[in-house]
Each structure stands twice: as structure tokens, then as C-alpha cells.
């Protein structure tokens, strides 16, 4: 006889939520930091066009960019650092000896990150609506959140890979070192035309670029690639990161558990 998987998943998911909320740094980096960055970039003349001749406002543009940044960061940080730290504390050893299937442990983390991302986006949307007069149709709000949650799969996989590759102490540095340059390089904070030439050529292919384009196109901004093209590129990233995550997971467990 074994326990119900549904109940295990529910309890594991609850534990993940509690674990996430009780660490103030998580709330700061996932909830407060995006709002602070939004204030810097989005509240300077928020109703003016984001670019000369554009119909989309600065507030809406920065909000969509920050939403992509936030969802990506919740995924990469909560998995990357969370998994690495839990490995460092040898939590995986006790779980490995318990009847809990590893897939449920990982799935609960995914569910927690999705819920948290949705919460972080909602906070950002509400703030942008009131502070920067961003008005979207109901469908556009939902579509923005939905596209980002869907596209976040690539970042979930990247997070898992980093969580099993990085050491528990170096994980925060490694994740920042990878995520922040990718965010800047993808043109999320500064438009790509202001970046050095060699990065500008690379910029459209960095993983946050198709992700942000998915968000921008909801606002009616004309993007380099179609929605399908962006989803395809993100899907390719998801597969590459997934394979990397599986390799890293196997490497880690084969050291400890054979």
C-alpha cells in the first residue's frame, strides 16, 4: 500500500509555499524589486509613447518588460537557488529514503513558482494600473499573464539545471551572473539599439528576448518574430535546458546514490 499521490502533492505544494513566504529575500526579489525597477523606468512620463511615434505608453511597455523579467527571475531563482541550497543541506538524502517520488517534489516546486509568479505579476499590474494609468482590456491582461506563465517553462528548466549544477554557496552568485546579463542583453531594461554591436546581434536570440516579445506583442507592439516564432524559440530553449537539467540531476544523484 502506498499513500495517495494527490495528497502528497498537495502537502508538498503547501510546504513549498510556506517555505517561500517565510524567507523575506524571496518576497523582496520577486515582489518588491520589480516594483522598484518599474518606478525607475516606468514612472517617468508614463503616459507618453514608449518610443517616438508609438501608440503604446511608456508605463505599459515597462510593465510588460518587468512582468517578463519577474516571471523569469522567480523561476530561475526559486529553482536554481532553492534546489542548490536544499542539496547543500542534504535534504535530498532524507527525501530520497522516503516514499516521496522525486517527480512530486519537483512538481510541487513548479506549482509554487507558477502561483508566486502569478501573484507577483498581479501586484505589478495593479501598481502599473494605478500609478502609471496602464489600461488594458480584460483579455489583454489575461493573455499577458497566460503567455508569460506558458513561456516560463524554459526558465523553470534553466532553474532546475542551475540548481543541480551550482554549489549551495555559489548558487546565488551563479544565478545572478547568468540571469542579469541575459536580462540586460535581451533589451528588457534598455532597448537593444543602445547595446554594443556584438550584443545587439546576439540580443534577439537570448532567452528573455522571445519571452519579452511575447509580452510586448500583447500590447500591440510590432516585434521581430511572430508569437509562434517566439514560442518556438522558447520551446527550443526549454528542450535544451531540460536536457541539461536531466544531465545535471543524474550527475548529482549518481555521485550520492550509487
Amino acid at each position: 500500500m502506498t499513500a495517495s499521490y494527490a495528497r502528497m502533492l498537495w502537502m508538498q505544494f503547501r510546504a513549498e509555499l510556506v517555505k517561500f513566504w517565510r524567507v523575506p529575500a524571496n518576497a523582496f526579489f520577486s515582489l518588491a524589486l520589480p516594483l522598484i525597477i518599474f518606478i525607475f523606468f516606468g514612472l517617468r512620463d508614463p503616459t507618453s509613447p514608449y518610443a517616438p511615434g508609438a501608440t503604446v505608453s511608456t508605463g505599459a511597455f515597462v510593465m510588460a518588460s518587468m512582468a517578463a523579467y519577474t516571471v523569469g527571475s522567480v523561476m530561475v531563482f526559486s529553482f536554481g537557488i532553492g534546489v542548490a541550497v536544499e542539496r547543500g543541506q542534504k535534504q535530498d538524502v532524507l527525501l530520497r529514503a522516503s516514499p516521496l517520488p522525486p517527480a512530486i517534489y519537483l512538481l510541487a516546486k513548479v506549482m509554487n513558482a507558477l502561483v508566486f509568479s502569478l501573484f507577483a505579476m498581479t501586484l505589478l499590474f495593479v501598481f502599473a494600473h494605478f500609478a502609471a494609468s496602464v489600461n488594458l482590456s480584460a483579455i489583454a491582461w489575461i493573455s499577458l499573464a497566460g503567455r508569460l506563465l506558458l513561456g516560463s517553462l524554459a526558465f523553470i528548466m534553466l532553474g532546475f539545471a542551475l540548481g543541480y549544477l551550482a554549489g549551495p554557496n555559489s548558487a546565488p552568485a551563479v544565478v545572478n551572473l547568468i540571469y542579469l546579463p541575459v536580462a540586460f542583453g535581451s533589451g528588457i531594461f534598455i532597448p537593444a539599439q543602445f547595446l554594443p554591436d556584438f550584443i545587439r546581434g546576439l540580443s534577439p536570440y537570448l532567452p528573455l528576448s522571445p519571452f519579452a516579445q511575447l509580452a510586448w506583442s500583447v500590447l500591440g507592439i510590432k516585434t521581430d518574430r511572430s508569437v509562434e516564432g517566439n514560442l518556438l524559440l522558447l520551446g527550443a530553449y526549454a528542450i535544451v535546458f531540460f536536457l541539461l537539467a536531466v544531465w545535471a540531476y543524474r550527475r548529482d544523484t549518481s555521485l550520492k546514490f550509487t
Binding site: 502506498t2 499513500a3 502537502m11 517555505k19 542534504k90 529514503a97 522516503s98 516514499p99 517520488p101 550509487t258
Partner: protein, 296 residues
């Protein structure tokens, strides 16, 4: 019925190091077994194989007749490991509730907390527990699923005398419920106190498997301890009827069946003794005699 846990000719190599050199062991339902041996003897490796945490290099490990990684076997097994961690920010009661959900018919949380003696810490976060309380939490996680079999790997290591006493009482409380228990220890009195069967492991091999009384009976002798004013040369001990020797600096422990003869001869050879003690053989001396060296 299949044994609760079983090793058949199991060997384990870590690189070039042979941690287990072919161990066969059946642990039947309802048994309380202590695996006794010095650090590095292979106790933890044996448990890891039975739990499916590690795979034997050759031979077989079984849990309730199944592959140890089988969820049906795992669901009847609880475990307290030496090196493992729990989420720092979860509370004790939350942690126990979480682990209960892994098992098909767990014990009520309040009962687990009571058995583990964690009543006053149930609402504390794991990071705020003392070493002894953390051991109790691990014990609570091992028993919360109401398993048929629990493994306790060095359950009292690092505890002060008082915490150890209290913790051993908790384990006895669980033993009284008729469960199967496998514990590893290098505290010999712990094995004597808790277990009905002692499996002595040294250098990756079982060197004795019997009741604590039988193991003690293997050594009919006495333990002679003393401090020598000068370091003893091999010649000083040569030819004496000694079954085991332990030397720490100028502190000597000799196990012998004829303590009077040994002492008479030492005096005759001009050895200057202080702090002399002659005591009866306990499990510790049995261990000394079985392995030729001390357990700690």
C-alpha cells in the same frame, strides 16, 4: 514471509575502497537489531543498501522481499539518517504533517510529537532547534508514517548525556509497540540496552551476530586499565595472556582471562602502574576481544 530487510552476499566499493566485503543478513519482522562497529566499519553503508539509497556493487539488498527503492517497501519503512537535513523555516508540526502525507496510514501528529518528546517545540521552526531536539525531529519523521520497520543511523551521536538518556527512552517507547528496528551505534551500552540482537561489523564484515549476553559471554575475562609511568616496550607485554590491547599514550587497556597473572608479571618486569582498575567484561570488552581493538 520475506524478512523485513535482507542483505545477500552484498559488497560495496567506493572507488578502490571496499566498504563491505560480502555481508549476508536477515532481519525478521519484530526484531530489534543493533549494528555495532567502529567508525568506517560499514554500518551506514549496510543501512544505505537495505534502504536503496545506494546500490550494492555485487549481491542483493531486499526490503520486505522487494527492491528497496520500491514505493510499497518504502511506505512500510521509516528512517533517521546521520547526514540529512530538513527545510529550515518549516515548523516541527508542519514538517511532521508533510512527512505523514508520504505514508498510507500515518500516526496522528499529536501522538508522533508525544512519542518524540517534542511537545514544547511543535510550533518552533526547524532552524531554532538544539542538536538534541533536531535528533528528536528526525526520529519523529522516521516514525510518523507508523512504519513496520525503522532504521536509526547513529541516533544519539553528538548528544549530551541527559539528551541521550531522554532520547533512548523515546526509542524504547517505540520498541514497546512491537516494531522492527535496526539501529547503528558505536555506543556499546546503547546496543546492550536497546537491542535483543547485536550484529558486530568491522572492516566491512560481520564478525559476530548474537544476543548481547552471548557476545558478552564470549569474553570471560576482565579489563585491566592503568597508566604507566614510562612507555611500555613490546617486550614488557610479551608472552602475557592478553586477548586485546588498547594503547592511548601511556594509558593502557588490556583484556585478559587471568588479570592476576598479568599484573604479577607486569610488577615483576618493573612496570610502574598508577590509576589501576580491574573491571568485569561488558559489551565493550567483548568488542575489544572480537576486533582486537577498541570501539571508539
Amino acid at each position: 514471509m520475506a524478512p523485513a530487510a535482507q542483505l545477500i552476499d552484498a559488497t560495496k566499493k567506493y572507488g578502490d575502497v571496499e566498504a563491505l566485503k560480502g555481508i549476508s543478513l536477515d532481519i525478521e519482522l519484530g526484531e530489534v537489531v543493533a549494528m555495532l562497529g567502529p567508525n568506517g566499519a560499514g554500518k551506514t553503508t549496510s543501512i544505505s543498501l537495505m534502504l536503496g539509497l545506494r546500490k550494492p556493487t555485487s549481491g542483493t539488498a531486499r526490503l520486505f522481499g522487494l527492491n528497496p527503492t520500491d514505493r510499497r517497501a518504502r511506505s512500510r519503512t521509516g528512517v533517521m539518517l546521520q547526514e540529512s537535513g530538513v527545510p529550515q523555516v518549516l515548523k516541527v508540526s508542519e514538517m511532521i504533517d508533510l512527512f505523514r502525507s508520504y505514508y498510507p496510514s500515518p500516526m496522528p501528529t499529536a501522538r508522533v510529537i508525544e512519542l518524540a518528546g517534542l511537545q514544547e517545540k511543535a510550533q518552533s521552526q526547524n532552524k531554532d532547534l538544539s542538536g538534541g531536539q533536531r535528533q528528536r525531529l528526525y526520529f519523529a519523521l522516521a516514525i510518523c508514517g507508523d512504519p513496520d520497520l525503522i532504521f536509526l543511523d547513529e541516533p544519539t551521536v553528538g548528544l549530551d548525556v541527559e539528551s541521550r538518556r531522554a532520547f533512548i527512552q523515546s526509542i524504547k517507547g517505540f520498541i514497546a509497540t512491537g516494531k522492527t528496528i535496526v539501529l547503528t551505534t558505536h555506543y556499546l551500552e546503547e546496543a546492550d540496552e536497546l537491542a535483543k540482537r547485536v550484529v558486530v561489523i568491522d572492516h566491512g564484515q560481520i564478525i559476530a551476530d548474537a544476543s548481547p549476553d552471548e557476545i558478552k559471554a564470549k569474553v570471560v575475562g576482565k579489563k585491566v586499565t592503568f597508566t604507566s609511568a614510562r612507555p611500555l616496550a613490546p617486550a614488557d607485554l610479551h608472552g602475557l595472556p592478553i586477548t586485546a590491547t588498547e594503547i592511548q599514550g601511556q594509558h593502557y587497556v588490556l583484556v585478559t582471562g587471568e588479570p592476576e597473572a598479568v599484573l604479577r608479571e607486569l610488577f615483576r618486569r618493573g612496570v610502574d602502574l598508577t590509576d589501576l582498575e580491574v573491571t568485569g567484561a561488558g559489551l565493550e570488552e567483548a568488542f575489544l576481544a572480537l576486533t582486537g581493538k577498541a570501539a571508539k
